[in-house]
């Protein structure tokens, strides 16, 4: 177990290192920072000063080391687009995305598991068929179409829910939260539905398949032979085992929610990291792009480690006796 965790930790560090190198390459070689920061008409002297200041005149390993050092200290440079420290810009936008992703993850996980179990148990009944068909449509519908459809129906036609933005937010320290106001929650509904639907259907299908397999397994057969009740078998035996593979995949899916939020944020004008990233891509705002990449990688790595831990806790075979 310890060895396993350490191996994962080592791999994670490796991943982070590789991504930071990628991010460094993006940062260093994409566009000319002197032009982006100083404009075309800056003098040669000004430019050289900036090049020296950024350390771009040094050998690449030194530059990379410097970049790593900066990154570790949370210094990602200055956004070319909004001309503010990247850290600040990202910190400002992160709460919106993280709240959206967290709520969506919750919805996708719970909904996916509940519906997946239902679908598996009533495989040949009409609920099962309906759920299977719905999940198929769910994975086929591009997120943006879902968003557009939801806006059209619930905001424009029915006037029930807001069509954009986060509603009112409350500042808690440096964190702006929409979870404390009614309008914040109302604003969350449609984006969360949009963001969660795809992942929900994925998890639902996964749970369904795993559940079907578990229900055919020997230990379930043996549990039946011992005369245990059906509920016990489904929830006490099959589901517990099903959750183990589900944890891994669901963990990855949840991790990618943050990146996936890009589309949802665009459709709903959600002021989060995704919208920032798209704007930065369009404006070739390299420091923000580089920082965002690292952030996503970090998030992924952390989620992966957590998943590993949970996995180990859920599966006694991985626990040390």
């Amino acid at each position: 177990m310890l060895v396993h965790l350490m191996r994962r930790l080592g791999q994670s560090l490796l991943v982070l290192l590789a991504v930071s190198f990628l991010s460094f390459l993006v940062f260093r070689h994409l566009g000319d920072p002197t032009v982006s920061l100083l404009g075309e008409d800056a003098s040669l002297a000004e430019r050289q000063r900036l090049v020296a200041e950024l350390g771009f005149d040094q050998p690449v390993p030194v530059q990379f080391a410097r970049y790593l050092d900066n990154v570790l200290h949370g210094r990602f440079g200055i956004s070319y687009r909004v001309r503010r420290p990247v850290t600040e810009v990202i910190a400002e936008r992160a709460p919106a995305t993280l709240e959206l992703a967290a709520v969506a993850a919750l919805v996708a996980l719970l909904g996916g598991i509940v519906l997946g179990v239902r679908g598996a148990l009533r495989r040949d009944g009409w609920t099962g068929r309906l759920l299977a068909a719905a999940s198929l449509v769910g994975v086929s519908l591009p997120t943006f179409l879902i968003g557009i459809g939801l806006i059209y129906l619930f905001a424009v036609r029915l006037h029930w829910l807001p069509s954009f933005g986060r509603g009112e937010v409350v500042m808690l320290g440096g964190w702006s939260t929409g979870l404390l106001t009614a309008s914040g929650w109302l604003s969350l509904i449609l984006p969360v539905a949009t963001l969660a639907l795809f992942k929900l259907t994925l998890i639902q299908r996964l749970v369904r398949a795993e559940m079907l397999e578990a229900m055919r397994s020997d230990y379930v057969r043996f549990a039946r032979a011992r005369g245990l009740g059906e509920r016990r078998i489904v929830y006490g035996h099959a589901l517990r085992n099903t959750l183990i593979p589900v944890i891994t995949i669901a963990g990855l899916q949840v991790g990618s929610l943050v990146a996936f939020a890009i589309v949802t944020e665009t459709v709903f004008q959600w002021p989060g990291l995704g919208a920032l990233f798209i704007a930065s891509i369009q404006a070739v705002d390299v420091p923000v792009i580089a920082a965002y990449l690292l952030l996503i990688a970090l998030l992924y790595v952390v989620i992966n480690l957590v998943v590993d831990l949970v996995y180990a806790l859920a599966d006694p075979r991985l626990r040390r006796a």
Binding site: V3, G10, F222, G227, G229, R232, R240
Partner: protein
């Protein structure tokens, strides 16, 4: 077949004219037809028959656990004089566990890996009996002790993966006995275990039945097991009961020709036969003719005279192999883990003279396959040498090329050893494809020719070449594997458990074939098996392995009749045998 007249009390279980059929894409498929049997309290009924005969299906039908798609047709099932096959699903469920207990074949997968042993037991106990948690715990403890698990207290808190296979199977038995059912159905409870563990589990079952008066329906295809344990035996074939009656009677005086063939096909442990009788030989012709043929076939074989002084074909000396199971250095140091090395083979030396068969026996994990794989060039030895006809296949590519086609291997699993996506013709031709580079004469026509020959030699129809492996039975597949092994005209054949996944009857066919080929082609065999009877039948010399070491080696007769090493003795004692005249297993263990 009618069951024997029951004694005065009503039987515990009565099955009358039961038939079961399954819905398949091509319409209903009959699996059981007119099966009938009875079981008295405390009685042990052995159910035998070849694979697919419907043994498991009968058990499932009694317990009400048919897979979806299966239906009970005609017939009825009675438990203690009450009809149970017509009960509702919920009532059937209540019967299970409380009145009918079941144990399945595979102890590795029967227990839920994420629940503790205690959870399993307590949950089952409390489903059936109105006990408090602490009472349930006590009962669980008692049950574990009853099935002979030491340190029961600690085991309750453990997870299935922390138990050995034999322990798990005993836990499964304890689980089946939670509510003291009157009837226990055990479906091949020991097939997945090795001989010694198998003997222990069977002993537990026997003892429990005697002590508690539980009736046991023991499904097995191992005649030896049935012979050692059961009071009565029921022989099934193709969904029907062929014969049933007291064990001794059926085994010694089988009435149905099929039973006779089945019994005859079991290789005896104490004699070496020229040929093993097979049911195929037996069933179609008239019983009398069979008897005559069998009588002739069953002549004891004179021991082979080894040409003294001749150089052996294969010489293995000091062969060792280690597997490093520990984590990489850095992690190991960080986690303070010791280095874990598994010595799978240790200083193994033996020689096989040309034209003879060398048998390698030993319990599971003792390193038999490892040795074979090193000889076959699949696994690099850590130390020691292998020389085949004077050439060491590990000494370089040139040596390996020189040996190309000189030796072949036949594997245990006839399903995994043939590429399911290739036609048989191509599978058999494969060794030639590699030779083609060196041998210009091997054009497509020549290859076809040789494939046809090889198929013919293993008694397969010529059109087999155009079919796929899945269109053949297990025995036929093993013959395909043999054909492939023969096509390059090797001198030496390594057979790693070539029959252990086959029925007795099919096993007999394959063994006979091997024997015939040796006679025809002068082959040399290395035969690995954990079935001592098979070794007895086939081998001139035997090596016994334990934990990677060759503990005893010598002429087959000597080793098997007068074992010197204690391990060999233990191994021999654990073998269930029809034993002409029953000896209780316990006495032998």
């Amino acid at each position: 077949m009618p069951s024997p007249p029951s004694s005065s009390a009503p039987p515990l279980l009565r099955v009358d004219g039961l038939s079961v059929h399954f819905d398949t894409p091509r319409g209903p498929l009959s699996i059981l037809a007119e099966v009938g049997c009875t079981l008295a309290p405390g009685e042990i009924l052995g159910v035998v028959g070849e694979s697919g005969a419907g043994k498991s299906m009968l058990g499932k039908a009694i317990a009400g656990l048919l897979d979806p798609g299966g239906h009970l047709g005609a017939g009825s099932i009675w438990l203690r004089g009450e009809r149970i096959d017509t009960l509702g699903a919920e009532d059937r469920r209540r019967l299970r566990g409380k009145h009918i207990g079941m144990v399945f074949q595979d102890p590795m997968t029967s227990l839920n890996p994420v629940l503790t042993i205690g959870r399993h037991l307590e949950e089952t106990i409390r489903t059936h009996l109105p006990l408090t948690p602490s009472q349930a715990r006590e009962r669980a403890l008692a049950l574990l002790q009853a099935v002979g698990i030491a340190q029961a207290e600690a085991r309750l808190r453990q997870y299935p993966h922390q138990l050995s296979g034999g322990m798990r199977q005993r836990v499964a038995i304890a689980l089946a006995l939670c509510a003291d059912p009157a009837l226990l159905i055990a479906d091949e409870p020991t097939t997945a275990l090795d001989v010694i563990v198998q003997a222990q589990v069977i002993e537990v079952l026997r003892r429990l039945c005697r002590e508690r008066g539980t009736a046991l329906m023991l499904v097995s295809h191992d005649m030896g097991v049935i012979a050692g344990v059961a009071d009565r035996v029921m022989v099934m074939r193709a969904g029907r009961v062929v014969e049933s009656g007291p064990v001794a009677e059926v085994l010694e005086h089988p009435r149905a020709p099929y039973t006779r063939a089945l019994v005859a096909a079991i290789p005896p442990l104490d004699r070496r036969l020229r040929r093993l009788p097979t049911p195929d030989d037996a069933v179609p012709p008239a019983p009398l003719a069979v008897a005559a043929q069998q009588a002739q076939a069953a002549q004891p074989l004179p021991t082979v005279h080894m040409p003294a002084g001749a150089a052996p074909l294969l010489q293995v000396s000091g062969l060792s192999r280690r597997f490093d199971l520990s984590a990489p250095w850095l992690l190991r140091t960080l986690a303070r883990e010791p280095r874990r090395v598994l010595q799978a083979a240790r200083e193994v030396s033996f020689a096989i003279p040309r034209g003879t068969t060398f048998g390698l026996v030993g319990e599971s994990g003792s390193g038999k396959s490892t040795v074979a794989r090193m000889i076959a060039g699949l696994l690099r030895p850590s130390a020691g040498s292998v020389t085949l006809d004077g050439i060491d296949p590990w000494s370089g590519t040139q040596a390996a090329a020189a040996l190309l086609g000189r030796f072949q291997m036949v594997f245990q699993d006839p399903y995994a050893s043939l590429n399911p996506r290739w036609r048989v013709g191509r599978i058999v031709a494969e060794p030639l494809l590699a030779l083609r580079a060196r041998d210009a004469a091997l054009d497509a026509g020549a290859i076809r020719e040789r494939v046809a020959q090889a198929l013919q030699r293993v008694r397969l129809p010529a059109d087999a070449a155009r079919r796929y492996p899945h269109q053949f039975s297990g025995g036929q597949r093993q013959r395909i594997a043999l054909a492939r092994a023969l096509v390059s005209r090797p001198d030496f054949l390594i057979c790693d458990e070539p029959t252990s996944s086959l029925d007795v009857s099919v096993q007999a066919q394959v063994l006979n074939l091997m024997r015939d080929l040796q006679d025809e082609l002068g082959l040399t065999y290395l035969l690995i098996s954990h079935n001592l009877a098979v070794i007895r039948q086939m081998c001139d010399q035997v090596g016994v392995m334990q934990a990677g070491e060759l503990v005893e080696c010598g002429p087959a007769g000597t080793v098997l009749d007068t074992p010197r090493h204690p391990y060999t003795r233990r191994l021999l004692a654990a073998v269930p045998d029809l034993g002409h005249g029953r000896r209780p297993l316990a006495a032998r263990a």
